[in-house]
């Protein structure tokens, strides 16, 4: 079982992650944890959902096991499977099972990307039964109080094929995330990218401009993550306009007019 300890230790968060609270989300999450209720984090990409989970895991002192969902993710990928080792069949826990056994936090990122038949395995875990059936082993795992399930998704405009079923969604305490307010966002960008406050403020201004282009055809504006990436490039010597071009403008759109307009914003601001 030493192997399992090592696998788990890698998921422990030792140092306090930097997280700037947006409201009372930390308190609500802590209380949900104590009540054994799962969390649903909604919000645009790159606005701090993952960082929030890292902070929460650190605060609660639990390991955090993150699974990025995709459309090839199968139930076995989550729950576990038999492998053959030295001619013998060995059961190998999947990340979800591992988290339940160890009382960790399991975070399914972008859960709508997973196929619907996969998402149903979390149902019995996500209501007050809090149990995980492992059919292949004929085992029914009961989650300890320390275990927590969290999922995230981006409710923005997207394919009709990818929407969270009501039967799934109605099990969670839902926290809605959005990009932080300008001052806070500037503080985050400044800290994370290690850049001057003025540059961080200008980057946030740029983001604000791109975020108001929804009606001009830009589905999502620049995320906090993109700002940090641009900032990091600048901090390491890339000229600011070039950094914005590669880290923000090109990442946002392929439409020539929108690209040109965002470029103009960049060259006005910097």
């Amino acid at each position: 079982m030493a192997g399992k300890e090592i696998r788990l230790d890698a998921h422990r968060i030792v140092d306090e992650p930097f997280y700037l609270a947006q409201g009372d989300e930390v308190r609500i999450a802590e209380i949900s944890y104590r009540c054994g209720m799962p969390l649903l984090l909604k919000g645009p990409t790159g606005c701090g959902k993952t960082r929030f989970m890292q902070y929460l895991a650190w605060k609660l002192g639990r390991p955090l096991i993150t699974v990025s969902c995709h459309d090839d993710l199968s139930t076995s990928d989550l729950v576990g499977r038999y492998l053959i080792r030295a001619g013998e069949a060995v059961w190998m826990d999947g990340p979800l099972t591992l988290a339940v056994r160890a009382g960790a936090i399991c975070y399914l990122d972008e859960v709508v990307e997973a196929r619907k038949d996969t998402t149903v395995v979390i149902h019995p875990l996500a209501d007050d039964r809090r149990e995980l059936p492992i059919e292949k082993r004929g085992e029914l795992l009961r989650a300890p109080p320390e275990f927590m399930l969290a999922v995230s998704y981006n409710p923005g405009y997207q394919s009709v094929l990818k929407d969270l079923k009501p039967s799934t969604r109605q099990r969670f305490v839902a926290l809605s995330f959005d990009y932080p307010a300008p001052d806070q966002e500037a503080e985050i960008v400044q800290r994370e990218a290690d850049i001057a406050p003025e540059l961080a403020r200008q980057l946030v201004r740029l983001a604000g401009m791109t975020r108001s282009l929804g009606d001009s055809g830009l589905a999502e504006g620049a995320s906090t993550r993109l700002l940090i990436q641009a900032g990091k490039l600048v901090a390491r010597g890339i000229p600011v306009r070039a950094a914005c071009q590669v880290a923000i403008t090109q990442a946002l759109s392929d439409d020539p007019e929108l690209l040109a307009a965002i470029d103009e914003m960049v060259s006005s601001l910097f």
């Binding site: 090839d72 199968s74 076995s76 499977r81 038999y82 492998l83 053959i84 013998e88 069949a89 060995v90 059961w91 292949k136 409710p155 923005g156 405009y157 997207q158 394919s159 009709v160 094929l161 929407d163 201004r205 604000g208 401009m209 791109t210 108001s212 282009l213 009606d215 001009s216 055809g217 830009l218 306009r241 007019e257 929108l258 040109a260 307009a261 965002i262 103009e264 914003m265 960049v266 060259s267 006005s268 601001l269 910097f270």
Partner: protein, 757 residues
Amino acid sequence: MELDNLKERFFALVAPDLPNDWEVEEALEGLTGAAPDLVETVLAQVPVIWPVSNSLCYNYLGQAVGALSCFPPAELGTWVNETLDRYEKGGLQAAQRFMVHVEEEFVCRLRGIAGLRFDEVQGRLLPYVRGLAGRDLDLAAAATACTDGETIYLPREISLARGEADNFLLYKLTASFQWAFLELGSFAPASPLLPAAPDTELAWLPLARFFDSLAHPGLAADIYLQLESIRARAFLARELPGLMREALPLLPACPAWPAAGDRAGRLVSELQCYCLSGDIRDASLAAAHGRRLRHLVEPGTDAARSLELCRDLHAQWCRDAGDYHSPQPLFFQGTFRLDLVLAARNRRRRSLEQRFVDTLATVLVQTPAPGKGTGGDREQAAGEAPAPDVALVLDSGGKRHRDAEQTAFLRINNEQVALDEELEALAREVTDEFGFLPPRFISSAAGRAGRAAAIGAPGGPAGGGEVQAPVVYDEWDHRRNGFRKNWCIMTEKEIPVTRSTFIAATLARYRGQIVRLRNQFEMMRTTERFLRRQRDGDDIDLDALVESLADSRAGLPPSDRLFVRLARDGRDIAALFLVDMSNSTQGWVGTAIKEALVLICEAMEKVGDRYGIYGFSGMRRLRCETFHIKHLDEPYGDGVRQRIGSIAPQEYTRMAPAIRHMTARFAEVDARIRLLVILSDGKPEDYDDYKGEYAIEDTRHALLEARSAGIHPFCITIDHHAHEYMAHMYGAANSIFLDDVRKLPARMPEIYRVLTS
């Protein structure tokens, strides 16, 4: 620079020649008041000209400052070279003529080389400006830059700089300047100097009224424009440092100077100079007002300061304003068109009033009147129900403390009723615009509600008799939370076909785009997916095999799903497009919808999804109509194309029965994904009382019915502004809003692609 200094510099430049003293003095006269760096720019050319001709050089010194008001200093060298060319070919007179007619001889040609027209920059500047403003400003062309708060007008052409890139930069600067005026509140300073306007005053703007009250309104307005431009330039330098860094070298070195003796004109030009260079050159102006002028460029000043300074400068100079002529505005600063600002404000106020009164009246009609209260003692005209006694209470401190709970409610006949979201948002918009809630708005809504109540509930009188259709639909009445049974009669009709070149023209116009779309959509069709864990297939699923071996070693029954199969067509999508053919789509909207349909058809043919197209319109509940354009499995041929080309605006927008009709059509369709795409231009509404909340709720309910029948509805709305109700009616994630109808043809296939992949 003093004349003596100038002379000294000049003699140094032409040494060892020793020109005649008084000739030099006369030539340098025009430079005495000019800024030092401007003088340097001018003098720098002296060594080039002097050796060619002394007289030409004297002439040049007289003309150079004027010329520099027409083009940026960087062009001076080119201008001088051309002057010398003329001199060599045509002698002194030819060269003089060239120098005097700067605009026709020189700037004009620069323009010919590199002028940039508004329509070439509009596409790029519009999102830029909207990004800056964070709201839907529009752009339009005009002779001079200006703004009314809703549209920014830009010159039809800009050609002051040499290359396209630089001229674009000047366009951007001009647009940014107008944005700065809006951002800085130049048109509505919060100043005690302004007369207070009655709440609903439409005839005048306080700022314009203030100027009119002064001795020389034109001068005052010009001074104010200059002071606000100074503020705007400083603001832009702080907000958009990149822009200002790049654009400043392209600006003219100085403004055009007024005629001698126009002292007030001289003041305005000095202020323009300050705006251009950031320096106050005129010593007496600097001494008298330097502190206040410099204060304008600091962060945190407001338009009230400019107005105060404007009043004082005007008072000092208006006595000298006998010969005053407004100097040419700096092109990037444009002008203040308070008449346009007033017109735009009035448009906004009228539409706000109308929306507010409509909404409140609808709420009142639908709110069951509580106890009659004081209403009873009023005399009402015969046949009218008494108008309810209404007050709308909105907390005033709410804006300060965002978190504080906001109190807002309606009081009808002394009883409190909670405000619905739309009405509350509108009420706040009204108080933001007018400063408070004009009582007239409430009384006219109450009056209208009283009359409506007397006539009867919405739903309207049953009119029209030509009923022949077999299909009948219920209508949702949210007030009673139930259906009105068999309320609407739906006829499916054929479109009268008209001949036109529409299809051919559209296919030609969008040829490139259609090719690209067809490629894109073809790729969607051929998304090949590996289906894992199949009973049979093209290849062995190694993961599954290993797992099953392991399972069997562990004593479990091994799975027989061990193959991978390549699935070529996993799509099985049926889509219906429902397009608004109401009267309001007349014009651009209708054309764009038709073009979008042509494009989507061309694309759909490649992806191979099944699709149908129907139009809808009608008048009153007994004559709802859908128009057949293409049935689901009908091939896309000439007939379909002709019908698309013949789509023409009909009557009203009762959208819900059409949606129910589509849901009914879908019931016969077997497909994994059933998608209903609705294209419309705004609010559902019919000739009778089918409008407002009633119509929105019915439409919303029809969409919910569709959804619960397993259909994915998606709505594309074309309108100038997004409205609160849209997200509510359609569901935020199931709708998109386009403010620019020209974008529709390109966006629609794109939306379909995103929705289904």
